[in-house]
């Protein structure tokens, strides 16, 4: 779960972002949410101010103590709230005030980018980079570059499909199983596992990705079925995932008792329904 304060802050800037959505495409001004760590990036941003380095006004900043605090679930939440891009800036590797928070952040965001790319949202709306307390100039440049990047991508439209996907991503990332895995993966890659052995890094990454992907797809399927029964082929079409990969998710959902079959079965194509 996103914590109360984080949610409130995202919420506060959200009204602002909504407003902008109504403005339409003409004269598109990207809305960018930035998370800056207290010790490096935030200080860097202040330095930019002290030094009067100019940068575009498109970003709204939330200060966090460490980039490691950024919950991956904040990102889909920000996009859903109406932002066009999310920027996370932390200390340079080795400089983290909390030793390895930035490295953890990098691991989580790399994974999240892959996920966003895989599910059709695109990885270009999220950026993670490093700014030290002395790099006011660099901060301004990064904001400028990212604003340009988002400008060229265009506004992020929360279509029903995109909303479904993002909500599914958010739900998946808020689930205990995945939070444990995303948190644990780094440790498993660097240290011995519970058996006192080193896990195969490829296998760990594969499990992490599969876990999130499956969870995500299952959540999306459940959302599709909210509007009425669908056949496997229709679900596969909506997911934009081959039937071969869709069927196992349906089997899993049936097994968990979360979906079932429409009782009438004269047709050769049974339709799935959400369980009551």
């Amino acid at each position: 779960m996103i914590d109360g304060q984080g949610a409130a802050q995202t919420g506060a800037v959200q009204a602002d972002a909504k407003l902008h959505q109504a403005e339409g495409q003409a004269g598109f001004e990207p809305r960018i949410l930035s998370f800056l760590c207290n010790w490096c990036a935030y200080a860097g941003a202040d330095l930019a101010g002290i030094s009067r380095f100019q940068y575009p006004p498109n970003t709204r900043v939330i200060r966090v103590m460490c980039s490691g605090r950024i919950d991956p679930a904040f990102v889909p939440r920000a996009l859903l709230a109406g932002f066009d891009g999310v920027m996370i800036l932390g200390c340079h590797p080795g400089d983290c005030h909390y030793l390895s928070g930035n490295i953890q952040a990098e691991r989580k965001m790399t994974f999240l980018k892959k996920l966003l790319a895989g599910e059709g949202i695109g990885a270009g709306r999220l950026i993670l980079d490093w700014v030290s307390a002395g790099e006011g100039q660099r901060f301004a440049e990064l904001v400028r570059d990212f604003t340009g990047q988002i400008r060229s991508l265009g506004p992020f439209r929360v279509t029903p499909e995109a909303e479904g996907t993002l909500r599914a991503i958010q739900t998946a990332l808020e689930g205990e199983r995945i939070r444990w895995m995303t948190g644990k993966a780094g440790e498993l890659l660097e240290k011995d596992n519970v058996y006192g052995e080193r896990s195969d890094p490829d296998r760990v990454r594969e499990v992490l990705e599969a876990t999130v992907r499956d969870e995500l797809r299952k959540n999306r399927i459940l959302r599709f079925l909210e509007t009425g029964p669908l056949t496997a082929a229709e679900i596969s079409g909506k997911l934009a995932v081959p039937l071969k990969e869709t069927l196992p998710q349906l089997v899993a959902l049936v097994g968990e008792g979360r979906i079932g079959f429409e009782p009438a079965e004269e047709s050769h194509q049974p339709r799935y329904v959400k369980s009551g």
């Binding site: 968990e256 008792g257 079932g260 369980s275 009551g276």
Partner: protein, 116 residues
């Protein structure tokens, strides 16, 4: 399987549906339940050979009785299922709850003298 079904359904365990007599079903209505269903083994698979067949007959008779006294025979039903058919159990529980919901509360509740 953690299948969801309405919490209105309460189960009374009996060794065999053959143990369920007509009076017991009627007593249930007298006590104020809105519907009764008897769930037994699949026909031909009764652990006690043919208790479920007898139960079905009795349920049919109670149906007639309830029709006669104006309670409505639909308030009582016999279902058959096997031990591995959790889904079927949940489905019957849902169906029966829906059916009783649409019939409304049992008249016997307000008016106990309807039944002997």
């Amino acid at each position: 399987m953690r299948l969801n079904y309405p919490s209105n359904v309460k189960v009374v365990k009996v060794p065999c549906t053959g143990r369920v007599d007509m009076l017991l079903i009627l007593k249930a209505f007298e006590s104020g339940v809105d519907g009764v269903y008897v769930a037994g083994c699949m026909e031909g698979e009764c652990h006690y050979l043919r208790g479920n067949l007898r139960a079905r007959r009795r349920v049919e008779q109670v149906k007639k009785l309830l029709d006669e006294v104006g309670l409505g025979g639909e308030r009582v039903e016999m279902f058959n299922m096997s031990a591995s058919q959790g889904q079927r159990f949940a489905q019957f529980a849902r169906e029966m709850t829906e059916r009783i919901r649409s019939l409304g509360p049992s008249p016997a509740k307000k008016n106990k003298e309807v039944l002997p």
